[in-house]
């Protein structure tokens, strides 16, 4: 069961700003629909848990994602493979950035393949649900790219009106993790996968 998708939108951000956002798994990952949690292995590999399903056929998918291509500032491509509900899912999502006067055209394309129980039992409904979820992702991305930078809002979870789960806060000029305020009693430290743990609500800050 193969679902292909594509489209484009224009954002007031520059290609560099958009690329910066897209190529950062810690920013891109939480935009995935029905996001539950995320574990970073390194700067290009991460594992996300998202809720998937159709009707009563539901479960949590664990998808290993990779930033497979990253060509600043033109292109970012993510690939993923995971399991859920007795099924295997493969995903690819690519973004091509075209500079425009004071804006950027973001052309997105991708494909999701589903093998197994989900395809067998819910095959007819997968495509409309899949398209709806892709649209959620794109809408979340557009919203994230149009939100203004908020002073002191670094690290605060911001609820997107377009997604059901709190989205990553928006500031594109987010300081490096080393400079984030440390929790009481802790010294500042680099964000490692230990900082992203089960049941995280999408807020990547401690």
């Amino acid at each position: 069961m193969s679902i292909k998708f594509s489209g484009e939108f224009i954002t007031p951000r520059s290609p560099d700003e958009v690329y910066e956002f897209l190529s950062d798994p810690s920013k891109f990952g939480p935009l995935l629909p029905d996001f539950e949690s995320m574990t970073l292995q390194d700067t290009t590999h991460f594992t996300v848990k998202v809720r998937v399903g159709v009707g009563n056929i539901r479960g949590t998918a664990e998808i290993k994602m990779e930033l497979a291509e990253a060509s600043r500032p033109q292109r970012a491509l993510y690939k993923g493979q995971g399991t859920a509900v007795g099924s295997q899912i493969t995903i690819s999502a690519g973004f091509d950035l075209l500079p425009l006067p004071e804006s950027t055209r973001v052309a997105w394309q991708g494909e999701a393949n589903v093998f197994g129980k989900l395809a067998s039992m819910a095959g007819g409904m997968l495509e409309p649900v899949g398209r709806k979820n892709i649209q959620k992702l794109i809408d979340g991305l557009r919203w994230a790219l149009t939100m203004p930078v908020a002073e002191g809002a670094v690290g605060e979870a911001v609820r997107s009106p377009l997604t059901e789960t709190p989205a990553q806060s928006v500031p594109l000029s987010v300081p490096s993790y080393e400079s984030q305020p440390a929790a009481a009693g802790q010294s500042p430290q680099s964000l490692t996968e230990d900082d992203v743990h089960e049941g995280h609500d999408g807020n990547l800050n401690p």
């Binding site: 069961m1 193969s2 007795g86 099924s87 093998f115 197994g116 395809a119 067998s120």
Partner: protein, 823 residues
């Protein structure tokens, strides 16, 4: 002296007795495998491949094994080190396939078992199965049989090709027939779709390895257990005698449950690993739909038909590609079984079929109802109807010109099969009366003139029964199978009860009832006085290597064995009664007296009840004279069919003993707005020779009709391009129900078979007549649109696509007519 006579029991054969089985089944008192609860029993769940084709690069069961309540696990790799692969029926190279009960390093169909988890409860086993981590490397899935035949992607490296078998069946003078034909018609493409039988009860098995007596015990619903054991025991390194198989009530099989022996093997190994605990596997419906067994899908290519001026078919030349799914298993027997009905019901003498069978990344097939013959019969009915339309000969007339005539029976087909009896014109006449042919023809003329899509279709078909396993040697000369046989045992038990056991495995056919009727007639008692053992048990030793229930043969093979056993018993009873009553054997009558079943001296009060005879044979043996002490009143009889091994070079010989026939007529209108085809009227005529129980036969005919209508209009095993089976639930694979079923006008004729002792012919599978007549009716409705029905499955969606493609000019020309052949 007053004389008394027996209250004479009337003849029971031929009467519509209520079924003995129904008393328990309707009350929910049947015993099915899943009803069986054994002490210390655990439950097995399979981890199945989501991919149709993928390398398995790792299986990690540690998380599953750590879950409380999990007893053990098994993987395909583990199993491959414990057992041998199953014996392959086919010749080289298909006999090189390594068929293990679970995938070892490659998954070849969606749903193929990769690992098994055994736990204290089904729920724990399900949860644990989700924790098994399998790493896959997806491979390209091969879904189309013609693509598979190109060997671009090989499914079984050991075989080196996807072609399981290929052979050319040529009979008569094909070239000469084409040379002198008045008409030659080319049909590019026909396709019989993949569907299955959806029995009410899914596959289930309980296995227990007993280390004390070194025996393996199965409780299963396998419907051909003797072949199952022949495949299982060698793989498990066991002697045949070490394996006991029991069946009891089975909720339908239709051939699908013949190939559940791989799951039986896994349960056996799991029991051994679990220290001899009984292990139960009960299949879910979605497992059944995706991964049990489907019917053969077949494509018919490049068909050329030669006809004379009157529309009589002189020759057919065609290429057939059969899709057996990922593993052959019972195949390639289907590559020859179709030839039991080579000319269908027609006097076709010149034929060439180039037959190929391939593997694809789909569920393996099983010998589904009508196995292999239905596909061929549909093909020839399509050929006839297409030619009938092209030559503008009415469908009924076309058939009458081509039918084998009643006076020609027994009829020898071009490949040496002997059709025992039949009356196809008589069946057509009756079917036309039942449906009101003339009235519907008038309605059709008016409707078609009004532009409505209204059609009438005829389907004539055969149900060949009691097959000669020697045909396996046509596909593989080394195959160690031939003939056919069945065993039965009849005895008087110690208290004189009549007990009969037979090696059949009924799944709803009413064997207990029909056996009781036959035995009651022989002994002149009542059917309720006959006790028929339910189900099958190897321990009863009432079976042969052919025993099971399949291939429409019970009434011939099973009842012939029963007849033989009871006749032997009767002869012994007569001898013993003569001694007991001090009379000659010729003076004795069998019947029912005041004390129950007895043997009486004709014209006197002297009688001995069955308990008296049983007493002499079993517990009071010293009073019996020496010359009668060999009488046991416990008689086993093996019936063997009078077959010879076919000529494997010429592919010639008698392959089946009896030929039931069916003729169905359907009246259909397709709604021009919704494209939904609606059956307006339906008639079904059956000829299964001498009928044992008309009610049971009528039930079988209605069941086969329902199944065929469902397949024609509602049921299809649909796959996407990646090999996902899309119709895995009853929401998408919609078996026919009483709501969709038309009222069937049913009739029957009897042309007794000279090849069975009772004149009865095996029936039950049906020959797919609904598929034939519905395809015909749809084509009749759409012929004015320039459309040919070339697929066996048609619903609103497919008809819409077909008609729209035609209107857009996108439909390839499927049929070409050469009006003038070269002379």
């Amino acid at each position: 002296m007053a004389t008394s006579t027996h209250s004479k029991a009337s003849g029971w054969v031929g009467r519509s007795l209520k079924r003995k089985e129904d008393a328990r089944l309707i009350r929910g008192k049947g015993k099915f495998v899943d009803d069986i609860k054994l002490l210390g029993m655990f439950h097995l769940v399979f981890v199945r491949s989501p991919f149709a084709h993928a390398k398995i690069t790792g299986v990690d069961v540690s998380a599953a094994e750590a879950l409380p309540g999990v007893v053990c696990t098994l993987t395909g790799l583990e199993i491959s080190r414990l057992i041998d692969p199953f014996f392959e029926i086919g010749p080289s190279p298909s006999n090189k396939i390594l068929d293990y009960p679970m995938a070892v390093d490659r998954a070849r169909y969606q749903g193929e078992p990769i690992a098994a988890v055994v736990a204290e409860s089904p729920a724990i086993a399900e949860d644990a199965a989700e924790l098994v981590r399998v790493d896959y490397e997806p491979l390209d899935a091969v879904i189309d049989s013609e693509v598979a035949a190109t060997d671009t992607t090989i499914l079984h490296d050991a075989m080196g090709t996807n072609v399981v078998w290929n052979g050319i069946f040529e009979y008569g003078e094909v070239e000469e027939a084409f040379a002198k034909a008045a008409h030659i018609i080319h049909i590019d493409h026909l396709h019989m779709h993949r569907f299955s039988s959806t029995p009410l009860e899914n596959n289930a098995v309980i296995a227990q390895w007993d280390d004390n007596d070194q025996r393996l015990y199965f409780w299963s619903n396998n419907s051909f257990p003797t072949i199952g054991i022949q495949l299982l025991a060698p793989a498990l390194h066991l002697r045949m005698d070490q394996v006991r198989v029991q069946t009891h009530d089975i909720g339908g099989s239709f051939g699908i449950k013949i190939t559940n022996y791989p799951q039986m093997a896994v349960c056996a190994l799991a029991s051994r690993k679990a220290n001899g605990a009984p292990i139960k596997w009960a299949e879910t419906r979605s497992e059944h739909m995706v991964s049990s067994a489907h019917g053969n899908e077949r494509t018919f290519r490049d068909t050329c038909v030669a006809l004379d001026n009157d529309g009589v078919i002189l020759a057919v030349d065609s290429r057939h590609i059969d899709d057996c799914g990922a593993y052959p298993r019972y195949e390639p027997l289907g590559c020859v079984i179709w030839s039991q009905v080579t000319p269908a019901t027609y006097r076709l003498k010149n034929l060439r079929i180039d037959f190929t069978q391939v593997v694809t990344n789909k569920c393996p097939v099983g010998p589904n109802r009508g196995y292999s013959r239905m596909q061929h019969l549909w093909f020839l009915e399509r050929v006839l109807d297409i030619c009938s339309h092209e030559l503008n000969i009415p469908a009924d007339e076309m058939r009458l010109r081509n039918y084998i005539r009643p006076e020609e029976f027994p009829y020898t087909t071009p490949n040496g099969c002997i059709y025992d009896s039949g009356n196809y014109p008589g069946m057509l006449k009756l079917a036309k009366e039942l449906i009101g042919w003339d009235e519907w023809q008038a309605e059709r003329t008016k409707a078609q003139a009004d532009g409505r899509w209204f059609g009438i279709g005829i389907g004539t078909t055969l149900d060949s029964g009691t097959n000669n396993f020697g045909q396996s040697q046509i596909v593989n000369p080394q195959a160690p199978f031939s003939g056919n046989s069945q065993a039965a045992n009849a005895k008087l038990d110690i208290y004189g009860e009549v007990i009969v056991a037979v090696g059949s495995v009924p799944q709803g056919q009413g064997h207990e009832t029909t056996v009781s009727q036959v035995v009651a007639d022989i002994l002149n008692i009542r059917p309720e006085m006959v006790n028929v053992r339910v189900g099958f048990d190897t321990e009863r030793n009432v079976h042969t290597g052919h025993s099971g229930t399949y291939a429409s043969q019970f009434v011939v093979s099973g009842l012939s064995a029963v007849n033989g056993a009871v006749q032997q018993l009767k002869a012994e009873m007569r001898k013993l009664a003569a001694f007991a009553l001090q009379a000659s054997e010729g003076e004795l009558d069998f019947g029912v007296g005041k004390q129950g079943p007895e043997i009486r001296v004709r014209g006197s009060e002297k009688a001995v009840p069955y308990i008296g005879l049983a007493n002499l044979a079993n517990v009071n043996t010293a009073v019996v004279p020496e010359e009668l002490r060999s009488l046991t009143l416990n008689c086993r009889y093996t019936w063997r069919a009078p077959f010879k091994v076919p000529d494997v070079q010429k592919k010639y010989g008698n392959l089946t003993l009896t030929y039931s026939s069916q003729l169905h007529i359907a009246v259909i209108e397709i709604d021009k707005q919704t494209y939904i085809p609606k059956i307006l009227d339906y008639a079904a005529v059956d000829d299964c020779g001498h009928v044992i129980n008309p009610m049971i036969v009528a039930g079988q005919v209605h069941g086969a009709t329902a199944h065929g209508i469902g397949a024609a209009l509602m049921e299809r095993c649909a796959y996407d391009e990646n090999g996902n089976m899309l119709s895995s639930t009853f929401s998408d694979y919609t078996p026919i129900t009483a709501v969709n079923m038309p009222n069937v006008k049913y009739g029957n004729i009897e042309t007794p078979s000279p090849h069975s002792y009772s004149g009865a012919k095996g029936m039950g599978e049906g020959g797919g007549a609904p598929l034939h007549c519905i395809s015909a009716a749809l084509q009749d409705a759409l012929y004015a649109e320039g459309l040919i029905i070339d697929d066996s499955h048609n619903n609103a969606s497919t008809l819409f696509e077909l008609i729209q493609k035609k209107r857009r000019g996108e439909l390839d020309l499927n049929v070409k007519v050469e009006r003038d052949a070269v002379h």
